[in-house]
């Protein structure tokens, strides 16, 4: 029964959502909108559980003085402080909450994003070492594309930019579309397997 009820709910809602997709009538749209609202409510409940997990994990680290426990104090203090500031002062554009968000959290996020350039360089170094035929092809294609798209490329050969563009538009695009076809079918198959109850890994197994 513990598994049958989720399976029945999954089947019923899955089929109803497929039907909803086919029917443009306002009643159908209202149903779709209601389901989405329910999702938001569920997510709110799940957020309580998730924050509980965060507090428990870091609380235990602080209590037991595990390795790097001071970081956990920073995490919990930041979370509590932001919650109090948000509840007390609101989240309007000129509020303290927004000021901290825009001047602390956003730049921190941007800094992480900026690090991507360095990670790209080290990943490129590892990938482009011509250890196999595939790696050599990758290196050659990347070299042509990079040189071709630089203004310097056309001085080497006027045909190089066009060739670089051909690599991007023909072999690269063809392989991307091949992957996308597979992904589309995989998505449909996964959705149908779950709706029809064939896939039950999310419930812990087949029984």
């Amino acid at each position: 029964m513990k598994r049958r009820i989720p399976l029945i709910i999954c089947f019923a809602i899955g089929i109803l959502m497929i039907i909803q997709f086919m029917i443009p009538h306002p009643i159908s749209r209202e149903f779709g909108s209601t389901v989405n609202k329910w999702y938001i409510v569920l997510a709110a409940f799940a957020l309580v559980l998730a924050i509980g997990n965060l507090i428990r994990h870091h609380g235990t680290k602080i209590r037991r003085k595990k390795t790097n426990w001071p970081y956990s104090i920073v995490t919990l203090t930041s979370m509590v402080a932001m919650s109090i500031i948000g509840f007390a002062g609101g989240v309007d554009p000129k509020s303290l909450y927004q000021t901290i968000y825009l001047n602390v959290l956003a730049p921190l996020g941007s800094t992480m994003f900026a690090l991507l350039a360095y990670y790209m360089a080290s990943a490129a170094y590892r990938s482009f070492r011509a250890r196999s035929l595939e790696a050599t092809l990758l290196l050659a294609a990347a070299f042509i594309v990079m040189i071709g798209f630089m203004p310097f490329g056309q001085y080497i050969s006027p045909r190089l930019p066009a060739f670089a563009e051909w690599i991007m538009k023909v072999p690269n695009m063809a392989s991307q579309r091949g992957i996308m076809f597979g992904v589309a079918f995989g998505s449909i198959a996964t959705a149908l397997k779950i709706i029809l109850g064939i896939e039950r890994s999310w419930l812990g197994g087949k029984k």
Binding site: S28, T111, A123, V183, F185, S187, I188, W202, G204, G205
Partner: protein
Amino acid sequence: MAFLLLIFSIAPPTQVQAIDKPNDAGSAIIIEWGFSKDDEAIEKYVIFRSTLPDTMRVKIGSIIRGNNSFEDDNTDDKKQYIYIVAAVKDDATFYSMPSDIVQSSPQFFNTGRTNILVCILVFIILLVFFVQRARMGKKLFVRKIPGLDAVEEAVGRATEMGKPILYVPGLGDIDWTATIASMNILGEVAKKIARYDTPIIVANRWSVVYTVSKEVVREAFIEEGRPDRFKEDYVRYLTEAQFGFAAAVNGIMLREQPATNFFIGRFWAESLIMAETGAQTGAIQIAGSDSVLQLPFFVAACDYTLIGEELYAASAYLSHEPLLMGSLKAQDYGKLIVFVILILFTLLSFFNIDLLHLLEVQ
């Protein structure tokens, strides 16, 4: 003055037709007209509407010359309307004849999505057929997927080293199919982990994904008969912030030094930040994503990568469940049918038989 107007007279739009917008939720009418013969000389077309029985004309919008259709998306389904289109040049307006009476209404079936319905039905038939064949004990061949064969080795390595396994189910919420596929793989990985009694860290970005992944891991431990070995701390909620999450995952990799990292699900720009940090810690890395733009990063930084559809085949491959294997066959035949249709329709288009529009989705 009258003489001047006669000289510079502009031909009005012709054959104004107003029809209920098809495949919609009502409240919309499409107005089409024949161009004014002086289309290039005018500035714009202005659309007027009369609501019956009142015949007073109200301007509802305008469109620049060169266009001959307009959508009125503010109608009442209970009322009847008549439309007039006028060609405007300077201050002079030249009205067309009125359209027929029209009324908007909602539809009960979107005919523009019939192709999707047919696809779903064909796919369900294929799925049921191959699942039945698998149920009858028919052996189905599935090619080797190195990334999935390495799962056993990766879990074993972590066990031998006494280090945890890190599993990141992507940064997509639960409504991403890749996240759902990742949950299926997590179930199979967690079973192996329960068998070997190795610690796992499942790092989550979304609260709903956190609750689902916690249940999946817990159920896997129960399935393996070791519910007492499951720890609440195995599944963690980090943050919803994209790069905050990446920073937190990097922190886990550097501080807790997992022996194996799984990055399976939907990823965006943070993919390489996490995968490259994992590579630098010396962990075995298995990644899988349906994001075409992130796959090259994973291929560069990880030991094994599940590319596109392999992500969706993983659950069947790992569980060796015959019914799930059957569904893989259905997937392959589905692709074959689409491949044949695409080639056939493309060839027919060379003979001016255009069937490719049947594949368009509204």
